[in-house]
């Protein structure tokens, strides 16, 4: 265990734990757009930056992204020093110039007292804040169907060559993790469209409702050792079946 001080309070944390987790556990609210527990920390939005120092540092301070900084013995953390607040304000201001209509950014900025950006709004700005969650989730699942393309201000998230991505299985993980709901998809009957690619959905044998795509089911049964029959039912029907079985077992147990 490691002892550190956060905003004047001594806290204990596991060795190797990232600072952001510990801060959150203390009930301290600091914004972060590129952080998600499901994927490795990335350190791109810089909103979770905090001020750190140590008694041995002779007054020297450093500013680090807490999502990526492992806890250290004797660390003194300030999550809301004037410099840090100024930094967060400016970053939110900059994000607001790029994505003025993204609700997440509007809300975060409002918390720091910003309702309108003080910079020039970017002409071709959209709701994508380039947090990279979609590509990282896609990579983590093993598909790598989309990635960030281009450099600098022209950076965007796209499938290879802006064509329907061959490796996409239509699992919707990217759209679900997107904090600004920028990634669009449509589900019409048994047809799903995402990234310009069309998918046919499996239909649950019991409820007749569409479930997941053929490609995703095939991928899961192949790579996760799940029998193909499993995907003939949707989650609700699976739970019902499970409940019935459990009921039978309990019943059977009582009779004995």
């Amino acid at each position: 265990m490691v002892n550190l001080t956060i905003n004047g309070r001594v806290v204990r944390a596991e060795e190797g734990e990232m600072l952001l987790n510990v801060i959150k556990r203390q009930g301290i609210n600091i914004p972060a757009t590129c952080h998600h527990d499901a994927v490795e920390p990335y350190g791109a939005c810089r909103l979770c930056t905090v001020e750190i120092t140590k008694e041995t540092w002779q007054g020297w301070k450093n500013y680090v992204t807490s999502c990526l900084y492992p806890v250290e013995e004797g660390l003194i953390v300030n999550t809301h020093s004037p410099e840090v607040v100024e930094l967060r304000k400016t970053i939110l201001d900059l994000l607001l110039a790029r994505s003025p209509n993204a609700r997440l950014i509007q809300e975060m900025a409002a918390e720091y007292g910003i309702t309108h950006t003080s910079f020039e709004e970017i002409a071709d700005g959209d709701d994508c804040i380039l947090c990279g969650l979609c590509t990282r989730v896609c990579d983590a699942l093993g598909f790598c169907a989309i990635s960030s393309v281009n450099r600098g201000h022209g950076r965007e998230i796209a499938p290879p060559l802006w064509e329907a991505p061959p490796d996409c299985v239509g699992c919707l993980a990217c759209a679900q993790v997107c904090p600004t709901d920028f990634i669009e998809y449509t589900d019409k009957g048994t047809e799903r469209t995402i990234w310009g690619k069309k998918f046919e959905l499996l239909v649950c044998e019991q409820t007749g409702r569409p479930t997941i795509t053929h490609e995703f089911a095939k991928y899961l049964s192949r790579n996760r050792d799940i029998p193909e029959e499993y995907f003939k039912l949707n989650d609700v029907s699976h739970r019902k079946e499970l409940a019935l079985t459990m009921g039978k077992i309990t019943h059977w147990g009582r009779e004995e």
């Binding site: 350190g43 939005c45 810089r46 500013y63 990526l68 930094l87 400016t90 970053i91 020039e120 450099r151």
Partner: protein, 539 residues
């Protein structure tokens, strides 16, 4: 052309002169007067190249073999004492001893950071791991810099030898040279050098009959400036997108494929064999106490003698610009010198007597960087310079983190606003505040040093910014939106400008004063370029 061993120096030699040189100079020891160098100031002819200020003030260590050997012949390199240092290291020295020599010499990384090379190697060696890597950074992305290119093209073996010595010291068996795709000749020469070494047993298994085995490969970069940053470079070598990662764990500890990695740049490695051969004390005597040795610069811009130079550390900027560089072109007043590449800074006349070393330049608000040095005269607008370098960085930012991607974009937009005369003084404050956030909040070195072009120019040339903002005037006559062209009474009516103007914005008859129509003028400057009578004022 230099004829050794006397150092006889001929300039502007053409193929047709060669037979004459052989007949007269080589066979009869006669000197051909018309080919000798003439000093532009004293107009005297000089025979020996070592007496010419451009060369006499230099001290060549990293560039020692440049132009003296054929780069793709390993025999030439060996004949000049090459691979002696490696042989000595492998047969007589332990890895610890090698690191001791390098540490004692005080060699600091020539790529920009100026980190002690010996300390880096020691840290890497101390880390227990099955594999250690050594990588050479040849991704010289700064506009106007070509030191590493010259070394890789002109003396690839010295780089290889340096890498091999480093590999032996840290216990690496595999190494990479990362070269940008824009340097095709460097890639060819390096590959040739590697092939030659493999043929003669200088690379591969049990080199020179010792137990040391080492292989080296070239990784080609696709020309992203950010890939010169260590963590991005390592990702790029591994075949991933070249984006930096946060370095709370340093790459010496966890670098290429998460293994301990030593990354130094081309010039650093080129210095290593010379240090081993001549000893740490020899190297320490050159330069200053904290920045030992020499540094190569590419001296460009408005100076008489441009080109590649290597000078001892501690030399002043004035000596470089006026003695080696021969002063400003057309004897115009000096305005600023830009060092350290795009994320470096501009230093004014008052800083010309500063000694050139890592710490002094950083203190003055610029940096050593990899060694670009751009000299500017009074016709350069500092707002325009800041705008140019910012636009470079906006394009070259990888776009991963917000302060760098969005912050530099907005900083550039504000610089444009100033140069177009649309800004207020509040915008200047805003730029300074924004710069502070970018410096503090960015992920990697590119962002952290990104606002430097603005910060250093506003620090030393604030008046020029204010002239743009308050008076809507560009004192250097560069920013198009704020200047206009006018014909003065020096005009002889030669009609040259009328022909040159592509927009029919000048009218006038032969031998009569011409007039520029301001509404048609696009301020392209074509008329100024053709006028022989200084008859066009830019105000």
């Amino acid at each position: 052309m230099v004829i050794e061993p006397d150092g006889l120096f001929y300039t502007k030699v053409k193929p047709k002169d060669v037979s004459e040189i052989i007949e007269k100079t080589l066979e009869k020891d006669e000197i051909i007067d018309r080919l000798l160098y003439t000093d532009p100031v004293s107009c005297e002819k000089e025979k020996n190249y070592n007496k010419i200020p451009f060369y006499s003030r230099q001290k060549r260590i990293a560039l020692r073999n440049l132009g003296k050997i054929r780069p793709n012949k390993i025999d030439d390199y060996i004949a000049g004492g090459g691979y002696q240092a490696l042989a000595r290291v492998l047969t007589e020295m332990s890895p610890e001893e090698v690191i001791k020599v390098i540490s004692k010499s005080g060699l600091r990384g020539r790529g920009g950071g100026g980190f002690q090379a010996g300390r880096k190697w020691q840290t890497c060696r101390n880390i227990e791991s099955d594999v250690h890597y050594v990588i050479c950074n040849g991704d010289e992305g700064d506009p106007g810099a070509f030191m590493d290119r010259a070394i890789m093209e002109g003396d690839p073996h010295s780089v290889l030898e340096g890498i091999m010595i480093a590999a032996y010291a840290i216990g690496a068996r595999e190494g990479y040279i990362y070269v940008r795709e824009e340097y095709p000749l460097a890639i060819i020469h390096l590959q040739k050098a590697i092939d030659n070494c493999e043929d003669v047993g200088m690379l591969g298994d049990s080199i020179l009959g010792t137990e040391f085995s080492f292989r080296i490969r070239i990784a080609r970069g696709a020309g992203a400036f950010v890939c010169g940053e260590s963590s991005a470079l390592m990702k790029s070598v591994a075949g991933e997108v070249g984006e930096p990662r946060a370095k709370y764990i340093r790459s010496v500890v966890k670098g290429f494929y998460d293994k301990p990695t030593v990354l130094n740049n081309v010039e650093t490695f080129a210095n290593v064999p010379a240090i081993i051969s001549n000893g740490a004390d020899w190297f320490k005597k050159i330069g200053t106490s904290k920045s030992t040795g020499t540094k190569a610069f590419s001296l460009v811009g408005k100076v008489r003698n441009t080109g590649l130079i290597e000078v001892p550390m501690g030399i002043t900027l004035r000596e470089i610009i006026y003695d080696i560089g021969g002063g400003i072109l057309d004897d115009r007043p000096f305005k600023a010198v830009q060092t350290g590449g795009p994320s470096g800074g501009c230093l004014p006349e008052s800083k010309l007597d500063l000694p050139v070393d890592f710490d002094t330049l950083t203190e003055a608000g610029s940096m050593m960087g990899s060694g670009g040095m751009i000299v500017m005269d009074d016709k350069t607008c500092m707002v325009d310079v800041a705008k140019y370098f910012l636009s470079f960085l906006v394009k070259e930012s990888c776009g991963k983190c917000v302060p760098c991607r969005e912050g530099l974009y907005q900083l550039h937009a504000l610089a444009v606003k100033i140069s177009e005369g649309r800004a207020t003084e509040g915008d200047l404050d805003k730029m300074e505040k924004l710069s502070e956030v970018i410096v503090r909040g960015s992920l990697c070195g590119l962002g952290k040093s990104g606002p430097n072009p603005f910060l250093s120019t506003v620090r030393y040339f604030r008046d020029e910014y204010l002239a743009h903002i308050r008076d809507k005037r560009c004192p250097a006559g560069v920013c198009r939106e704020l200047i206009h062209y006018e014909i003065n009474d020096k005009c002889t009516g030669c009609m040259a400008c009328i022909t040159a103007c592509a927009y029919d914005a000048i009218s006038g008859k032969k031998n009569e004063l011409h007039v520029i129509y301001q509404d048609k003028c696009t301020k392209c400057g074509a008329c100024v370029a053709v006028c022989n009578y200084e008859a066009i004022d830019v105000t």
